[in-house]
């Protein structure tokens, strides 16, 4: 047994001086038997336990049985009073408690240590104990925890507070009862204690904005000592300022500004960062923060320079002028030894610099591009994109630079960023189109990323046929069919078909190429080739429009559900695609957050998808027969924020019905609501059924529904409904949530009106080729009218308003108004309830307000009429 030290000595020679180099799990677990010896051999046990902890840290996984065995053996070591050994045991408990069983066994030993006289034990014992204790067991140690929070020793107090914060992740309720102790700890002398106490207190009060505001104003006037606590307070204050749209308490902002003069750099930076990140900061308010950051730029500490330039580059995205004052300092940083700092300095300069400096900056970029990580290369690419949009005249220089970068080394996200940037430039500037397409064509000749190749092919299919010489692209596309994998081949076939559909001169050649594709080894490719060949051979323009240029876009999940339902009925009648919801086109693609942006935003409320709603509603028997869900509106707040009851309304449109879903939240912790219902009334609308929410306890969300048939007359399908929340209140104990009485009383609460607008009857639809769709729909049901939109001051505003009001989708990127134009044409596409296709062309002119000529085409005269009347 004693010999085990010797081989360890020898191993260290092999392991380059690492005595743990050859430690392996089986032998260490064997050695752990030494834990059972009495009296405890402190030296050996310490050594073995360290080995176990080392193994766990290296990522070795113990099975449940192994972990439990070690855990139980370890409990024997409580007999020894050696300080190091005892504390290693605490570490072991924390490491193993996730895997081992019955860890509660050590509770009494730890409780003893936690309440004992030995300060060295108490703090770590508290932390270990809170790891193995669940909410129910917490009650038994509650008394000790309360004492520990206000303990004189800062270490003990911090340990207790930090444990509180950990516990709150699973059971926030327990800690809420200790709020007065936490408050006491907040005025402690300990630097870290104050920080931890503030963190716990904020977590307790987070959902109660009034309490947070009170806490903050008290802390601002009393002042905190700990720089960490002040940084934390700055974050809370910044949030408060941001959330209050209306006039903010100026004391909050004054506090941020005062912190710019704090003596700790960490606090100064935190305050400066908060001020520049606040959206509402004016140029005057920004100035002191920017000059503080400017000072940091020439600081000898790299981290300070880094922090400052990172923040400035963020500001430069939105307010380049404010940062321009730092240009000189930034230029000095281009040569910084830290490449990250240099990159950020350059990208910031690209945003703030003048047109003349572009060429020079380009040169310095290419000199160090190879030294930096992909993530920073993406930052550079993003900066180039912004630059290209800002200085169209420099686009050829930039395009060449981008093409060079595209040929260089790099991973998929980097290449994708470059391709996206080139695509943006192409879309922004028609003159750059052909050159950009050439670069992309060249790139896909040697592109290893399938997704990117497919994306570029899709772009070629959209833009290529409309260029002057579409024929030149065919070679690149057909090369893909010969050389690439199945996914790319299939995409290439679709692109060929798009060329064939739009360029008559090429059609016969395309048909030949498609015929060759029919021999492909992959069935998807063969299927596409056959399908397109068949459609193109008819030379029927209507057919080609409908099935190649603007193919129907059903929501696939709904299509599947509808088909399953159809197969259950008797299938003599043909399947009607009119009632199917079309898939709303994907929202403007969300940019993958670059490293400069916040990576995680856990608090953002997730809006459930169409599918989710459809499932939820179908699960309610009363609504099961309504047919497929056509559209769900975005949630609409019917109450002000921070009121007693919060209600949101979601409008679900079916073929002949509207279902109003009311998501209600009760924010009073001394009330339990029962039989919650929202009563809606409006002219021409009748509530056919309503489903109340049986019980609504504090802070939980419950839903009630109203079912309304849509009036027959299409012109009265819009209107305003008044809404009242009706319920029965039962007072209850705030702590337990148990009602005090059996009897309640009726009450009601007036909500804001629910508006049912044209947009609720229209689903957005994409048209990849608006002009073709417009011609095909024909002028049969065309309506045209002219409006004066006096309230609008800019074309952008008008475009956004009209799009939102009609609930339709802008096509051909017509939602972007080029700078400095005084007229614009907006193309919108949508599907009206019942599957009626609607297209809208709005010609806008700016002159003392906006004048609009609106032309509506659809396959139903009444639909055209209601859309045209909607705007007026």
């Amino acid at each position: 047994m004693m010999g085990s030290f010797k081989p360890a000595k020898k191993d260290e020679e092999d392991g380059g001086g690492n005595p743990y180099h050859n430690v392996d799990k089986t032998s260490v677990l064997q050695e752990a038997r030494v834990f059972n010896d009495t009296p405890v051999n402190v030296k050996r046990c310490t050594h073995v336990l360290t080995k176990i902890l080392y193994l766990l840290n290296q990522g070795e996984i113990l099975s449940e049985k192994e972990a439990t065995d070690v855990f139980f053996a370890m409990t024997k070591l409580f007999q020894s009073n050696d300080l190091v050994l005892r504390r290693l045991v605490y570490l072991g408990i924390k490491e193993l408690c996730g895997v081992a069983k019955d860890t509660i066994i050590v509770t009494s030993s730890l409780t003893k240590d936690m309440t004992g006289r030995e300060d060295q034990y108490r703090a770590p014992a508290i932390r270990a104990l809170c790891r193995i204790t669940d909410a129910t067991m917490m009650l038994s140690i509650e008394r000790y925890m309360k004492q520990a929070i206000v303990d004189r020793a800062p270490g003990v107090s911090s340990a207790a507070l930090v444990s509180c914060r950990h516990i709150m992740k699973d059971s926030p309720e327990v800690v809420k009862r200790w709020v007065s102790e936490v408050q006491e700890a907040l005025v402690s002398d300990g630097v870290m204690v104050q920080f931890h106490a503030l963190g716990v207190l904020h977590q307790i009060r987070k959902s109660d904005k009034l309490a947070v505001t009170k806490m903050v104003s008290k802390l601002i006037s009393s002042g905190l000592r700990s720089p960490y606590a002040i940084c934390f307070l700055i974050r809370i204050v910044a949030r408060l300022i941001e959330e209050d749209e209306a006039g903010t308490d100026s004391r909050l902002f004054d506090f941020l500004e005062a912190m710019l003069r704090h003596k700790a750099e960490m606090v100064i930076y935190e305050a400066a960062n908060a001020i520049v990140t606040l959206k509402r900061s004016s140029a005057r308010e920004l100035a002191p923060a920017i000059s503080v950051l400017q000072l940091f730029l020439s600081n000898p500490k790299p981290t300070l320079r880094f922090a400052a330039v990172r923040t400035l580059s963020k500001v430069a995205m939105t307010q380049p002028n404010a940062v321009a004052a730092c240009n000189l300092d930034l230029e000095n940083l281009i040569q910084d030894v830290n490449r990250s700092i240099a990159t950020l300095a350059i990208t910031t300069l690209l945003k703030t610099g003048s047109e003349g400096s572009v060429d020079r900056l380009m040169k310095s970029i290419s000199s160090f591009l190879n030294d930096i990580s992909d993530e920073f290369k993406i930052v550079v690419v993003e900066a180039l994109r912004a630059l290209a949009l800002k200085y169209p005249r420099k686009q050829s220089v930039l395009m060449n630079q981008l093409a060079d970068m595209l040929r260089g080394e790099g991973g998929l996200p980097y290449k994708e960023a470059i391709a996206t940037t080139i695509i943006t430039i192409i879309e922004d500037n028609p003159e750059a189109k052909e050159k950009g397409l050439d670069h992309l064509c060249e790139f896909i000749e040697d592109c290893e990323h399938t997704t990117l190749a497919v994306r570029i092919l899709h772009l070629l299919g959209r833009e290529g046929p409309r260029t002057r010489r579409p024929a030149r692209y065919i070679r690149f596309v057909y090369n893909r069919v010969i050389l690439e994998n199945a996914a790319v081949r299939a995409a290439a076939v679709s692109v060929l078909a798009k060329f064939g559909a739009q360029c008559e001169s090429l059609l016969s050649n395309i048909l030949v190429l498609l015929q060759r594709c029919m021999m492909d080894t992959e069935d998807e490719v063969r299927d596409r080739a056959t399908y397109y060949h068949a459609v193109l051979s008819t030379k029927d323009s209507a057919l080609i429009h409908r099935y190649i240029l603007n193919p129907p876009q059903y929501a696939l999940a709904s299509l599947e559900r509808a088909l399953v339902q159809y197969l259950r009925t008797d299938t003599t009648a043909a399947f009607d695609t009119k009632t199917l919801p079309t898939a709303p086109p994907p929202q403007e693609e969300k940019k993958t957050p670059s490293i400069m942006e916040t990576a995680s935003r856990p608090e953002e409320r997730v809006v459930p998808s169409h599918e989710k709603y459809a499932e939820q509603l179908a699960a309610i028997p009363r609504f099961a027969r309504l047919g497929p869900l056509f559209k769900s509106s975005a949630p609409l707040e019917l109450t002000e924020a921070e009121t007693e009851y919060m209600v949101r309304c979601i409008k679900h449109t079916f073929l002949n019905y509207i279902v109003l879903q009311f998501d209600c939240t009760n924010t009073l912790n001394d009330q339990l609501l029962e039989g919650v219902n929202v009563v809606v009334e409006g002219e021409g609308w009748e509530v056919e059924a309503s489903i109340p929410c049986p019980s609504l306890p504090y802070s939980q969300m419950g839903s009630c529904y109203s079912l309304l048939p849509i009036p027959e007359d299409i012109m009265s399908t819009t209107g305003t409904l008044s809404a009242t929340l009706k319920f029965k209140v039962r007072d209850c104990d705030p702590a337990s949530g148990e009602p005090d009485t059996d009897e309640g009383y009726e009450d009601d609460y007036t909500l804001e009106d629910v508006e049912i607008s044209v947009a609720d009857h229209v689903q957005r639809a994409a048209r990849s080729n608006f002009a073709a769709g417009w011609d095909e729909l024909g002028a049969a049901n065309e309506l045209e009218d002219t409006f004066a939109l006096a309230a609008m001051n800019t074309l952008e505003e008008a475009v956004a308003q009209i799009t939102q009001f009609l609930g339709m989708h802008p096509c051909d990127r017509s939602d972007r108004v080029p700078d400095g134009k005084s007229s614009h044409i907006l193309y919108l596409a949508g599907t009206y309830r019942g599957g009626h296709e609607v297209l809208v062309r709005a010609k806008l002119a700016l002159s003392d307000g906006v004048t609009m000529q609106l032309t509506v085409r659809s396959d139903d005269p009444e639909v055209s009429e209601i859309i045209a009347s909607a705007v007026g």
Partner: protein, 177 residues
Amino acid sequence: MTGLLNPTLYMIKGIAILDNDGNRIFAKYYDPTIFTSVKEEKKFEKNLFQKTHRANAEVIMLDRLTCVYRSNVDLFFYVMGASEENELILVSVLSCLYDAVSAILRKNVEKRMLLDNLDIIMLAIDEICAGGIPLETDPQVVSQRVALRMEESPFNDQTVTQVLQSAREQLKWSLLK
């Protein structure tokens, strides 16, 4: 949403000590959402080491983490935080880690010494960061809280001959290598 920082105590995403080949001596990640497996962690560490072992630049952004670092002889110390985290707070944690280790190892910050005192070092890291929350940032306090053995160890009342003896031993070992 805004780019404002979330008020949270959980400011540290990870702490690592690597040797001069980029191998892990100690590493702990406090946010399970960053890396899903030990394999990914080690891949990240290799990558981090490669990017940092030559340039002594103190801070780098990698895989959406801000990493501040410091090295001595054959050891590399890293503290990681979210990409938008206040770098100066991370640096204060890093300095505490480094200074505490230096105090524990009596200024001999090198791999061999660190491994010989790995138990104390692990205790020190546990005192510096509790599950992602900076627990203590004063290196003196940290080393006092963990350097328990030092007071008891016979090291303090070693005679001059004993010290010479052990120095000779150590020299012999280093020559034998």
